[in-house]
Amino acid sequence: MFRFIAGRLLQMIPVLLIIATLTFFMIRLAPGGPFDAEKSVSPEIRKSLEKYYRMVNPDGSPRSLWLQLGDYLGNLAKGDLGPSSKYSSRTVNELIGESFPVSAELALWSLLIALGFGLPAGITASLRPNTASDYIPSSLAMAGISVPNFVIGPLLVLVFALKLEWVRVSGWDDWIDRILPSITLGVLYAAYIARLTRGGMLEILSQDFIRTARAKGASQLRVVMKHALRGGLVPVVSYLGPAVAGLVTGSFVVESIFQVPGLGRYFVNAAFNRDYTMVLGAVLFYAALIVLFNLLVDLVLVWMDPKQKFA
């Protein structure tokens, strides 16, 4: 198992290198630069900024992109994502370190909501397929998948913040501020998890060994919890890799709707401002996170299936 994990971590290095290189050239190919929006920037300041970021040589001549990429990768090897091109006094490491915990918290609550509603709904639906206790959760799940979160978010605000005034329209101070953004972000994933759980459980519950368990006198609850769940949850666990990636990276819409100071918002702003280092840093951070999480999911999957061994 140790070798399996080490191997996967080593694989991460070329993946991140390729992503860094591609992103680097893509963002540089985009028109405009980090200092274009600020009209107040005088040519002199601009020159010195470009020197500070080593976009030009000390003598003012343009520096080749390859050399700049080399600089970047050199720093990256030390874990340094460089200074933000937009906020010259801050490093990208600082910005991510500040904003990511907020996004992570939002993602965690959303994931808990998604699992908390999706699993029971899916299990309930699977126990009596094609009856009311299947149709109701299944159609709710269909609705959750079909309605985008930029519709759900404002709708929730309209009802619970503006009409009922139970919560605030936006912000991220109290625990109560967590509710609407987490629900908005979690709905889609709850719906997918419900569908995957239903499918996985239906598949397992029709197996011969479930009949064996019933023949031994196991109760419905025991059949579900002890005999069916482990196999029935395999599709859900496999989905958790992409789901967490989506929750973490896809949160920028929700963060914008609810004014949550998370990494998603920084990332989108950075893209608009051509904050080269911030965009690169965020992309690499997301990529590493997704790779690590998929590794975790694979470990859990192997642990769940006795037939699988670490290869």
């Binding site: 011969d208 064996t212 023949a215 031994k216 006198g217 109760s219 002890k226 482990r230 006795p306």
Partner: protein, 346 residues
């Protein structure tokens, strides 16, 4: 007979309502079994043997399955209509089942030991350690040595024969009053098979358990069963004490089966095969289901109502012409069934 019956099944009908029509898998089956008795059920593949037995514990998926009629009285409880709670207390405790397919009937996600001792944990007031020890002993009884280690294995680490032995150990571990065994020894070699049968026999002697044995193996039927039911197209068409069933068939289908068994036939003679194929049980049938293949069939076999009639002491047959005394099926030569060892697919 009805007085000391342990299980009394009356007019059991299990239909599957599928898209392709209504499959009458079990269509009016009645029988009973006494304490200590061993009842064999034989019949072609698809004749409804498994469905009939799984129905007794309500292990048929519903839908598509449905019990259209019937009662199954087990010591005063109607298994088909009692509450789930009552049924659960009987399942795996007083009435155990060994399933046909050992490859898929064990849970691949659970350790063998966990599965093996589950009936004890569910129905007996034992500690986990106690149950575990009993599990090790049960494995030894079915010929699996090294039980301590084997208990911690997963099913995929076992061969087909070993899994089947685990299934058997699991069914016997609560020492049930009635054991239903659906082809329990098909994946076992002859010596292990003998060992398992001996084990079941021993439990019967000690506890007076009854056993329902579904099998294709005529050798097992003749040496192990007291009485035999012959099923055809979801119905019982003949039932008699074992020897009588073989020596004095009272139904043309049974007679044809005897002729189709290689070991019962003199060497050199062509093996007899029954012409035609079993009827499609998703189509409604009139009269005798065997009539289209029967060499004795007449118009009245199709038009009359067919029942299971008493045709001799302890011997019931669903053949109208036998009942009317029009035909005599007793074979000229008496085959020696005790020598038969080959598993025979009817």
């Amino acid at each position: 007979m009805a007085g000391d019956a342990l299980l009394q099944v009356e007019d059991l009908r299990t239909y599957f309502h599928t898209r392709g029509g209504v499959v009458r898998a079990v269509d009016g089956v009645s029988f009973d079994i006494r304490k200590g008795e061993t009842l064999g059920i034989v019949g072609e593949s698809g004749s409804g043997k498994s469905v009939a037995c799984y129905s007794l514990l309500r292990l048929i998926p519903q839908p598509p399955g449905r019990f259209e009629s019937g009662r199954a009285m087990f010591d005063g409880t109607d298994l088909l209509h009692c509450s789930d709670e009552e049924l659960r207390k009987i399942r795996g405790n007083r009435l155990s089942m060994i399933f046909q397919d050992p490859m898929t009937s064990l849970n691949p996600y659970m350790r063998i030991g966990e599965q093996l001792i589950e009936p004890l944990l569910l129905h007996r007031d034992v500690s986990r350690d106690d149950a575990w020890q009993q599990g090790v002993a049960a494995l030894r009884d079915v010929g699996i040595q090294d039980g301590e280690k084997r208990m911690r294995s997963y099913p995929h680490e076992f061969s087909g024969g070993m899994r089947q032995r685990v299934m058997i150990a699991m069914a016997l571990i609560t020492r049930p009053e009635l054991l239903i065994a659906d082809e329990p020894t098909t994946a076992l070699d002859v010596t292990v098979q003998a060992q398992i049968l001996e084990l079941i026999r021993k439990m019967q002697c000690e506890l007076g358990s009854a056993v329902i044995f579904i099998t294709h193996d005529i050798g097992i039927v003749s040496s192990f069963c007291d009485r035999v039911l012959v099923m055809y197209a979801g119905r019982i068409i003949e039932t008699a004490p074992t020897a009588q069933l073989f020596y004095e068939p009272k139904h043309p289908y049974n007679q044809a089966l005897q002729r189709a068994i290689p070991a019962l036939n003199a060497k050199g003679r062509d093996l007899y095969t029954i012409p035609g194929a079993p009827p499609d049980v998703s189509k409604p049938m009139r009269g005798c289901p065997f009539a289209p293949r029967c060499e004795y069939a007449q118009e009245k076999c199709v038009t009359s109502k067919i029942e299971l009639w008493d045709v001799a002491p302890n011997h019931r047959s669903a053949c109208l012409r036998v009942k009317l005394g029009e035909i005599d099926l007793t074979p000229a030569e008496r085959p020696d069934t005790s020598a038969v060892e080959d598993p025979v697919r009817a």
